[in-house]
């Protein structure tokens, strides 16, 4: 039976969709059968981040309304044949789907897939309630900023109140140079404030911009973010992976003061 994971954050723009794309692709790289569901109705984005925007025929709302079979709406990934996307609808709104419908959709997909990963919209309204309804565990994404951490705390409270079985934290877009200077909260600071298990630290990496431009998740590539996302995937499947040393090699200092090494 597959596991349903919701990727959520409260605040917008902290990297939920990027995280969903990379974690999903990474799990497929680990030979898992994965389906990604975009639940941000009206603001569809996971399709472009995955580079699958030209292949959409049916969407999430078509599935829950019974206009098509689930299988007809699933888009197979370009690179991994065990990875699928169920895109969101662009011309409808959040009220087109109910938490009960999401629950039964997740149940239907459980038998077919190892992981069902749900990209949650920002906010705490209907869209959030839909996204978490069928989930077994949550990945809460935040950046080390006061606004994002405050919203993550609120989200964690709501997840706990809804009896989410497992809640893990991803600190995204960490600027190691700023943390060193004391001008940014460290991942340990964020972990202490939010008091949930830290499952990954993703450094701020310009390669993410490039990969999003191209519609190709960078998980598993020889980049800092690519390695960080792959580590998260390995931790999700239960491996004990040590946190990477973000200060090592290709550091900010060597880049700033010329390429000495």
């Amino acid at each position: 039976m597959g596991e349903v994971i919701v990727v959520t954050s409260g605040k917008g723009g902290v990297g939920k969709t990027t995280t969903t794309a990379n974690v999903g692709t990474g799990l497929a790289k680990l030979d898992k059968k994965v389906v990604l569901i975009d639940t941000d109705i009206g603001l569809r984005n996971l399709d472009v981040v995955m580079g699958l925007e030209n292949r959409i025929v049916y969407n999430l709302v078509d599935v829950v309304e019974g206009n098509c079979k689930i299988k007809q709406a699933l888009i197979k990934d370009k690179r991994y044949n065990t990875l699928y996307l169920l895109p969101s609808a662009q011309t409808r709104d959040k009220s087109a789907v109910t938490p009960e419908q999401m629950q039964s959709l997740c149940e239907a997909l459980r038998g077919e897939f190892d992981y069902i990963i749900i990209d949650c919209p920002a906010g705490i309204e209907q869209g959030f309630k839909n996204a978490i309804a069928g989930a077994d565990r949550a990945l809460v994404v935040t950046t080390p900023e006061v606004s994002a951490v405050r919203d993550a705390d609120r989200i964690i409270g709501l997840l706990e109140a809804n009896e989410m079985k497992k809640i893990d934290l991803i600190v995204n877009r960490l600027r190691v140079d700023l943390v060193k200077r004391g001008e940014m909260m460290s991942s340990a600071d964020v972990e202490e404030i939010l008091a949930v298990n830290l499952i990954g630290i993703v450094p701020d990496d310009e390669n993410i911009v490039v990969s999003t431009n191209q519609g190709e998740p960078l998980v598993g590539t020889d980049t800092k973010a690519g390695t960080a996302y792959m580590n998260i995937c390995n931790r999700i499947i239960g491996e004990d992976v040590p946190f990477m040393d973000l200060t090592a090699k290709k550091g900010f200092f060597s880049r700033l003061f010329g390429k000495k090494n």
Binding site: P144, E145, E160, L178, V179, G182, E183, M185, D189, I193
Partner: protein, 87 residues
């Protein structure tokens, strides 16, 4: 931490402290100092009647399913030799 008598607090620490304050007031409508004071006063009152174990004390706000918050106070009572013998 500054090297000469004056020290400028790093903005990372400022952020952390501001967050701690804002999160506790979001939940409780009061500052951590007020929370601490309230906790101490509650313990004082209970201590008048029962011997409480301040080590294992739990005192925090909890999110409820309906979206409201509740104050959770878990106050362990010290085992007394006298009580145990009477059983």
């Amino acid at each position: 931490m500054g090297w000469f008598g004056f020290k400028k607090k790093s903005s990372g620490d400022v952020a952390k402290n501001r967050l701690k304050l804002v999160l506790s007031s979001d939940k409780a409508g009061c500052s951590p100092e007020t929370m601490e004071q309230m906790k101490n006063e509650i313990i004082q009152v209970i201590s008048k009647y029962i011997d409480v174990d301040t080590e294992g004390l739990e005192f925090r706000f909890r999110n409820e399913a309906d979206g409201s918050n509740s104050l959770l106070a878990n106050i362990p009572i010290k085992q007394q030799a006298k009580t145990r013998r009477s059983y």
